[in-house]
């Protein structure tokens, strides 16, 4: 093996000898440099490999042949090897990336570039503190040199600020070192750790100075204006180095020197991390400059890593896993983002939509951003999970809250940014992507994927089974060039196979009713809803991998047996659905609010799971039932996550626009299937927690009220909508509130209502959305008042909508009535009269929009441009009629679903429920016989129809304007169709209920965040001197904090 000392020798030697080539061909210089760096990378990689395969012990390298502390020694161990490899790989990629810059500036710059990495390498390896200081200086000087790769005025002044700041920091370090030498008598770090520096009064101050200097090198939040300016002004390739290599190295310094300070320093480091993490992520929300945002994000992430470091005791043997998974994710992703930023070369994130037509770049950007956010399947997800769970295990909930809050802030700006990259691009500017610029980012994303797999394996939480969906998604992604028809068939085949395996082979033999039901909804529903995909032309890039991911996420939910699996599936599903929604043309803004609410909810859930783990020490889902002390907290926190998904009142504002703006066949998927994940979650949660815990008995009561009010407000809002998809979307809020209400009743009948209604809602909401989407497919408009009279052109769609709304409204004889009937019984038996009355009222309000839906689309005069419309495509109709058949079957014979569910529920709520006698179901209150009602109704209807037919066989069929019109006649269909603002009087009477209080208050919160952030960030005055003052103040304040006085 090649000794580590050659890293230095080769780098330095090459750098010095580059001077010979100053005037020579620059390609030669570059080649030389590149070769040297590649060799250095090879050395470090070789060591890393050796350590990973456990062939190697940590070794010490002595310079000058003397043992430390008499000479400077280097250390090569596993951690060093990891860091060195990270740094050198980044160096290599950066060299490729900066190829044209370096070539243009010549050998001088190449030397500087090389020596930067050499310096960082030594800093990582050295065990002598003064040596560390020297090489730290090398890296900062080289960085100052690299900042001016592009001689912009901004870059120069920011380089000066950087010089001042790093000069002050290094002086502080130097004073600390010399004093530590005085008090400790050694410069060898191992000696310093062992010595009694801390017990001498001045010694502890010396340690303080050393460590504060290291902390300042990490650019902690308020004292980091200089660093941000560097991030912003330097060419993004340098930003990648600063955030990837320099920050990583600084972290390692902290890691190396922290033992000198002892345990007393862990907390201050943690608090510094917290301030950095929260502060810079919070201020990041307000930023518009891409590189500066990345800077803020880097600082935030470093803060997070500092927190992790300070909590190393609590994390125990998971510390390394957590630390490295988050660090490496950040390192790869952030460098990648900087590189992409360099390719795009636009300051404002608003201009990033220039990549709109470059799917490759979008995918890369997405991968990097999602990696930063710690969403599955990216490595930081596992890191975060272990972090939170282990913190929870030791009861550090303040830390958990802080970490998740900061992550949330970060999510806000990263996701907003991601949304902006997908904005429509009017600017026809063409983006030229050079190979050497994109290459490092591609490599980096490959590394991320590889590392994802490795972390997943290392985490020990994932079995291979979970990678199948990813494999399929990747396969579909690779086959993205195929036409949509083939891909659709593949997707349907995949889901069919999956549902065969899950439902037929697993759940049905196990007779697991709940999972059969939701497996049916999630997977069979998926098959049905994939059919309309055949109507799409072209390639539909990126659609199918996401669909597969979403459905496998849903399948993962029902498969999950541990909270980890559940959370993983939940996040994956959320992510995939977010990406599906964002594909919609105008869905950027709304998908942003969707993902924000979802993430906030998921974080709550995360804390909840953590709390449960804290108490029970088990991550099994069943263990939730054993939570006793914190039952209320766990319950609320986890429930909030689900409430977001089912868009309960207060957190519903994401839903309408998301549904509306998503693709037409995505909308049924999310509205009828995806939201059921929340229902499923609530069922799981309530089964394990509410039933056994008397302590959490009040929460269902609150949930019940939330459900009732959601039902009311959702339906109220639906009736005023002019956008047909929005109308159905708001009705979803209402129905979900209804289901929530049913669940929170915590009684047999309530649950029977809710679960059976989940199935029914799936059937009719998919039916309605499919019908509506099929109509939109033909009419190309979503405005409901622009339709009308379509019954003559699309009779089959009309039948679908009619069946759909009859079921929705709960009219007998269709199965919707079953829900209403059971609901009444449940409410009266439970004693929730007023909530029940509200839900009932909202059920009647639902008539209004049901009628609006069917009237404005199908009835009234047909519009001129729709006179020649054809019935919608058969691909839209096939699933509709399958669903209609389903509705009809359970309408005639509801026993087939109600009885098994009832049996299942009897396990949890024994002694209540429906009593079946033949086809009659009865409770202690009432009775109901769907089959008989259906027969009576059909007979009666038939007789009356025959009577009418006999009496008026001969009728003249007339045209649309053969109406009485006060002896005049209408001129245009638009003037005769009473459709726009249909319920104006209702609005006048009860419109106050539909006022956007909640939307406004959320917006107010969002705006306030912005305003506060805008004020706070004013202290970054841009004046280098002020930044210097910040540093000095930071030192003094920190000193005061640690010592509590002078």
């Amino acid at each position: 093996m090649v000794g580590p000392i050659y890293i230095i020798a080769i780098s330095l030697g090459t750098a010095f000898s580059l001077g010979f080539f100053k005037k020579a061909n620059r390609n030669i210089s570059f080649g030389l440099m590149f070769f040297a760096m590649a060799f250095v990378t090879f050395i470090s990689g070789q060591w890393l490999y050796a350590f990973l395969s456990h062939q190697q012990e940590t070794i010490q390298i002595f310079t000058a042949g003397f043992k430390p502390p008499f000479s400077i020694s280097l250390q090569m161990g596993f951690h060093e090897a990891v860091f060195l490899t990270m740094i050198n790989v980044l160096g290599l990629l950066s060299a490729i990336y900066l190829f044209d810059h370096l070539k243009e500036k010549g050998a001088n710059m190449m030397m500087v570039f090389m020596l930067l990495f050499m310096g960082l390498n030594v800093v990582v390896m050295t065990r002598d503190i003064f040596n560390l200081f020297v090489f730290l200086e090398i890296s900062s000087i080289t960085l100052v040199g690299l900042i001016i790769l592009e001689k912009k005025q901004d870059a120069i002044s920011s380089g000066f600020k950087y010089l001042i700041a790093s000069g002050i920091i290094s002086q502080i370090l130097l004073i600390g070192i010399i004093a530590a030498y005085y008090y400790g008598g050694s410069l060898f770090i191992n000696d310093m750790v062992d010595s009694n520096l801390l017990f001498v009064k001045g010694g502890s101050v010396a340690v303080f100075l050393i460590l504060i200097a290291v902390v300042l090198e990490l650019k902690p939040f308020p004292a980091n204006g200089w660093a941000l300016d560097v991030y912003q002004s330097a060419t993004p390739g340098i930003g990648a180095i600063v955030s990837g290599a320099v920050a990583t190295t600084s972290l390692f310094i902290l890691y190396k020197l922290l033992p000198i300070g002892g345990d007393a320093w862990l907390l201050p480091i943690g608090i510094t991390g917290v301030i950095s993490f929260l502060g810079s992520n919070f201020l990041g929300i307000n930023q518009k400059n891409a590189n500066r945002i990345l800077g803020y994000s880097s600082i935030g992430q470093v803060g997070l890593l500092m927190i992790i470091m300070s909590l190393s005791k609590d994390l125990g043997d998971k510390f390394e896993f957590v630390f490295f998974s988050i660090l490496i994710s950040h390192y790869l992703a952030k460098a990648g983002l900087f590189w992409i930023s360099g390719i795009i070369n636009k300051d404002e994130i608003g201009q990033w939509n220039i990549i709109k037509n470059k799917p490759g770049l979008i995918v890369l950007t997405g991968v990097f951003m999602l990696t930063l956010l710690g969403l599955p399947p990216f490595p930081s997800f596992y890191g975060k999970w272990e972090l939170i769970m282990n913190l929870a295990h030791s009861g550090n909930f303040t830390w958990i809250a802080i970490i998740l809050l900061g992550s949330f802030f970060e999510a806000i700006y990263l996701l907003r940014w991601f949304g902006k990259t997908l904005m429509n691009n009017e600017n026809s500017e063409e983006l030229i992507v050079k190979f050497h610029k994109i290459f490092p980012a591609v490599i980096s994303s490959f590394l991320i994927l590889m590392f994802s797999f490795l972390t997943a394996r290392w985490s020990g939480l994932m079995s291979v089974k979970y990678f199948i969906p990813f494999a399929i998604a990747l396969l579909l992604f690779a086959l993205d060039f195929l036409p949509v028809f083939i891909k659709n068939i593949m997707a349907i085949a995949t889901v069919s196979w999956y549902s065969y395996v899950l439902i037929y082979q697993t759940y049905i033999p196990e007779n697991d009713i709940l999972r059969i039901i939701f497996g049916f909804i999630f997977l069979i529903g998926a098959i049905l809803l994939l059919f309309p995909g055949f109507t799409f032309k072209g390639k539909r890039r990126g659609f199918y991998p996401l669909v597969i991911l979403m459905f496998s996420g849903l399948a993962g939910l029902i498969e999950a047996r541990t909270t980890f699996q559940f959370f993983f599936a939940w996040e994956m599903m959320t992510l995939a659905s977010y990406l599906l929604i964002i594909r919609g043309k105008n869905a950027k803004k709304t998908s942003f609010s969707y993902i924000l609410f979802s993430m906030a909810g998921a974080f709550m859930m995360f804390i909840g799971f953590g709390l449960a783990y804290f108490e029970t020490g088990s991550i099994s889902l069943n263990a939730l039932a054993d939570v006793l002390i914190y039952a209320n907290w766990v319950y609320i926190l986890v429930a909030v996550g689900f409430l977001v998904k089912i868009a309960s009142l207060g957190v519903h504002i994401w839903l309408p626009d998301s549904y509306t703006e998503a693709d037409d066949d995505v909308t049924p998927m999310i509205s009828s299937i995806l939201v059921k994940s929340g229902v499923f979650g609530l069922i799981i949660l309530m089964l394990s927690m509410s039933l056994k815990n008397a302590a959490s008995s009040n929460i269902p009561y609150i949930l019940g009220w939330i459900g009732a009010l959601s039902a009311l407000i959702g339906n109220m809002l639906a009736i005023y909508q002019e956008d047909v998809k929005k109308l159905v979307a708001y009705s979803s809020i209402g129905i979900m509130g209804y289901i929530l209400f049913g669940l929170s009743m915590m009684s047999h009948l309530g649950w029977l209502t809710a679960i059976s209604y989940s199935i029914v809602h799936f059937l009719y909401k998919a039916l309605l959305f499919l019908a509506v989407a099929g109509i939109i497919y033909r009419t190309k408009t979503r405005n409901i008042y622009e339709m009308g009279g379509l019954i003559k052109r699309m009779p089959l769609s009309f039948i679908s909508v009619l069946i759909g709304i009859i079921t929705l409204a709960g009219m007998p004889p269709l199965v919707g009535f079953a829900g209403k009937w059971m609901f009444y019984n449940a409410v009266i038996l439970k004693g929730w009269y007023f909530q029940g009355a509200i839900v009932f009222f909202s059920g009647i309000v639902a008539f209004l929009y049901c009628f609006k839906l069917i009237h404005n689309i199908f009835l009234g005069p047909i519009k001129d441009n729709h006179r020649k419309l054809k019935e919608t495509s058969v691909w839209w109709l096939i699933p509709q009629f399958v669903l209609i058949i389903g509705i009809m079957i359970i309408s005639v014979y509801p026993k087939i679903i109600l009885e098994p569910i009832g049996l299942y529920l009897s396990m949890y709520f024994p002694g209540e429920g429906l009593v079946w006698a033949g086809t009659t179901a009865s409770t202690s209150l009432g009775y109901w016989d769907a089959t008989q009602i259906m027969m009576v109704f059909a007979g009666m209807f038939g007789v009356i129809f025959i009577i009418l037919f006999l009496m008026s066989r001969k009728v003249q069929v007339v045209e649309q304007f053969n109406i009485v019109f006060q002896a005049e006649r209408p001129e245009r269909p638009e003037t005769t169709h009473y459709a726009h603002n249909m319920y104006a009087p209702y609005n006048k009477a009860l419109g106050f209920l539909a006022a956007p209080f909640i939307t406004n208050s959320w917006e107010f919160i969002y705006e306030s965040f912005h305003a506060i952030g805008d004020q706070i960030r004013k202290f970054y005055t841009g004046n280098g001197q002020t930044y210097a003052l910040h540093i000095v103040m930071y030192v003094v304040a920190f000193y005061l904090f640690i010592n509590g006085g002078f």
Partner: protein, 232 residues
């Protein structure tokens, strides 16, 4: 004004920290363990009469390598940074220097360079060494620049000296790995007789490299700054 008062308060804080830092300071009465080792074993292990040189070049030779690198980098960056790019304004306005300075420099510059060379060659015996010598050489050259502002010296020569000495330094270090105890071990060619010019192993060689390198680098920096001079 308020701001200055505030800064004053902060500085009082800094002062308090520094005072605390040296609160336990009593002044050394004896050498520490490591220093003791250097002084006691330095002559035998390194062979240099000047213990500081022994520390600088051998015991902590790695630092010195870094130090040289820093200077090298500074020179490179300054050189790159201050490269004259606009060719349309080649004629720079420089003030004339005085006759006295001009004449004196002709006498002094060679002496200074010679003295510099002396300092770094004797670095292991007497106070001084590569850095000091290099600095003296550079001072001589700076004096020359001041005296004769219009005189042009090519960067090329400086670069070559710099590179040769730098590579030489690294090679000496590597020689230590190959033939002696470790990187930068000076014991590659024998220690020689203690206290003579040709003693202390590789130290004089390294110091020559360092001296040349420092001299050329400092000169390079000064040259770059000079080329930007425009007193119009």
């Amino acid at each position: 004004m308020v701001k200055n008062a505030f800064i004053f308060l902060i500085l009082i804080g800094v002062a308090m920290i520094l005072v605390n830092l040296f609160a336990g300071f009593t002044g050394n009465v004896d050498l520490g363990q490591i220093a003791n080792h250097y002084v006691a074993n330095g002559p035998a292990e390194v062979g240099s009469a000047n213990i500081v040189t022994a520390v600088v070049v051998t015991y902590r030779g790695f630092d010195t390598l870094g130090e040289v690198t820093i200077l090298f980098l500074s020179a490179a960056i300054v050189g790159f940074f201050l490269k004259i790019e606009n060719t349309d304004n080649t004629e720079r306005n420089l003030k004339y220097t005085s006759e006295i300075l001009n004449t004196a420099s002709q006498v002094l510059v060679p002496i200074m360079i010679l003295f510099g060379v002396y300092v770094f060659i004797n670095g292991h015996l007497s106070p001084g060494g590569g850095f000091q010598g290099g600095a003296i050489i550079a001072s001589g050259l700076v004096l020359m620049f001041i005296a004769q502002p219009k005189k042009e010296i090519g960067h090329k020569l400086i670069n070559i000296i710099e590179s040769i000495s730098g590579v030489g330094f690294v090679l000496m270090g590597l020689a230590g790995v190959l033939f002696a105890g470790g990187f930068l071990d000076n014991n590659v060619i024998g220690l020689g007789k203690f206290g003579t010019l040709f003693s202390a192993g590789a130290i004089p060689i390294i110091y020559i490299f360092v001296g040349l390198k420092v001299g050329s680098e400092l000169t390079g920096i000064a040259l770059s700054l000079k080329e930007n001079q425009n007193e119009a």
